[in-house]
């Protein structure tokens, strides 16, 4: 087949757009190896000093650890609550369940600054400001929509006759949920868990409002670093995170194929 101008336009255009998407993210790589003490390209030699700084600085390591464990707790809570919610709504499938599903996804639509103001005022009343529990609660709420959406998507392929059959053979509601519906929802739960973890791990606006000194998360350290500028340690952290993302994506792609 002859290659038309039309086809060439879309094909090269697509690669250009993908270059625009991916290449800018990669600039942190050369910066992270700079031998200078400010953000810039390496001058005379490549240096690992900013990686060394990250791995020896208790502030960076502490913030990383906080983000990881808070993210895992959030992902667990959101997955349990969100899965139960989606399964309940799937069984009900009535108007009320539809309204409930819309209520649960409001955090996607409300601007981050607005919800963070809401959190701040409420958390002050509850005494949750600058506590890990306060952050976990806020992040769980922000992660719930993603779990509910992905579990629901997984259930859309489930034949409604299967749970009916289980019930007519004498299984209780909870036995049916546990033995028939949850296994079908498993891929959705896994996706939801990952989404929930990432939502918490990357969340910045909320923690800026509801934490002070006691709770330091990785995004907060990066945010403060960008504000004060010029510490290339951020580039080292960013490179590590991007490398992790790449590895995780590659594993995901390989497992699927």
């Amino acid at each position: 087949m002859q290659v038309s101008a039309f086809r060439i336009f879309f094909q090269t255009g697509a690669w250009l757009v993908i270059a625009f998407l991916v290449l800018p993210i990669l600039v942190v790589l050369p910066i992270s190896f700079t031998d200078t003490s400010y953000i810039g390209l390496p001058k005379e030699a490549l240096s690992l000093q900013h990686y060394a700084n990250y791995f020896t600085d208790p502030d960076w390591l502490g913030a990383t650890w906080t983000s990881v464990w808070v993210g895992l707790v959030v992902a667990t809570c959101a997955s349990v609550l969100g899965t139960a919610f989606a399964i309940g709504c799937w069984f009900l499938s009535d108007r009320a369940a539809m309204v409930a599903r819309w209520v649960l996804i409001t955090p996607i639509l409300v601007p981050p600054v607005v919800q963070s103001l809401g959190f701040y005022r409420f958390w002050v009343k509850l005494g949750l400001i600058d506590t890990h529990f306060g952050v976990i609660l806020a992040h769980t709420l922000l992660a719930l929509p993603y779990v509910s959406i992905s579990v629901f998507a997984a259930l859309s392929n489930l034949d409604r006759n299967l749970p009916r059959a289980a019930r007519s053979l004498g299984a209780s509601v909870m036995q049916t949920v546990w033995a028939v519906v949850v296994p079908a929802a498993r891929p959705g739960i896994a996706t939801g868990f990952i989404f929930a973890f990432i939502v918490s791990f990357d969340e910045i606006v909320g923690v800026l409002f509801i934490t002070v000194r006691n709770v330091q998360t990785l995004p907060k350290m990066i945010w403060e670093g960008i504000q004060d500028n010029i510490d290339p340690t951020i580039a080292a952290v960013a490179t590590l995170l991007i490398a992790l993302t790449l590895i995780a994506t590659a594993i995901g792609v390989l497992r699927r194929s």
């Binding site: 998407l21 800018p24 069984f91 209520v103 409001t106 909870m174 994506t249």
Partner: protein
């Protein structure tokens, strides 16, 4: 009555998530409305002040302009990628999909930081241009609307591509083939036969990008350098610098209402359920 009993047990599954969402999310957000009408004194004073302020007006204009340009930019760039992925099957197509999704997993903070490194006064782009002798003094690429727009389009692009991809994957090739075999050129069959079928995906993408851009904070705050005050940043300004909770809350209410209006109006053209509730 077993049916009623059954419904109760399904609601037992729904209620834990729903009740914490209502108690700890919906109520706090409604609390913002209360503050807007009661602090510093009861009444609509904050809204009167807001309507009379030129700074607020400018900020709203900037917000809508940035969101609109970001949306259009994302749609054009995103359409090209989604079209190539769904219509030209090559060995590289899976790689293309992976590369489109990859930035999604990299935090917005890091992506904005990358753009600061690139676009800053002594950033990589300016350095390279000066080095190549193309300019003498650094260009102003950041701390203005241009920088905010570049980074916003970069951050929002996957949100536009994904719904369009879902939509295009469901389009059968036979209509374009029919048009072609009846003598339509490649371009005509695209414009008159293929493009209209992709409109639902385009509109879903537009809605997502526009709504998210309206309330976006991180990228405009970092790339705008205080010169491109979108509403979200204006709100934090009022509250953190001036402790003006009343005006900050009134602005929040206005932003919420604006978002809701956009959703309500778009509900006429876009399938909101498919766009928001049943995203893949």
């Amino acid at each position: 009555m077993p049916r009623v009993h059954e419904k109760v047990s399904y609601w037992m599954l729904v209620l834990p998530a729903l009740s914490i969402m209502v108690c700890f999310y919906i109520l706090p957000v409604l609390g913002i409305w209360e503050i807007a009408f009661t602090e510093p004194e009861t009444g609509v004073g904050n809204f009167v002040k807001m309507a009379g302020s030129n700074a607020v007006k400018t900020s709203f204009v900037i917000t809508f302009r940035v969101a609109a340009i970001t949306t259009v930019g994302c749609l054009i760039l995103g359409y090209i990628v989604a079209y190539a992925i769904s219509n030209f099957a090559t060995r590289l197509t899976p790689l293309m999909v992976a590369l489109v999704i990859l930035p999604f997993w990299v935090s917005v903070l890091i992506r904005s930081f990358s753009w600061i490194v690139l676009l800053g006064r002594s950033g990589l782009v300016n350095d390279a241009l000066i080095h190549a002798g193309m300019i003498e003094r650094p260009l102003r690429l950041m701390h203005n609307e241009l920088g905010v727009l570049i980074a916003m389009i970069h951050v929002m692009l996957p949100f536009a591509v994904l719904p369009m991809l879902t939509n295009m994957r469901g389009i059968s090739g036979i209509y374009v083939q029919a048009a072609r075999s009846l003598g339509a050129s490649e371009w005509t069959s695209f414009r008159q036969v293929y493009f209209p079928q992709t409109l639902p995906g385009v509109l879903s993408g537009a809605l997502l990008v526009f709504v998210l851009s309206l309330g976006f904070f991180v990228t405009p705050a970092l790339l705008g350098g205080g010169r491109v005050l979108m509403i979200s940043e204006y709100i934090t300004y009022q509250i953190q610098e001036f402790l003006n909770w009343g005006l900050g809350s009134a602005l929040s209410v206005a932003l919420l209402v604006a978002t809701a209006l956009v959703l309500l109006i778009s509900a006429r053209f876009v399938n909101l359920r498919a766009t928001l509730l049943e995203r893949k």
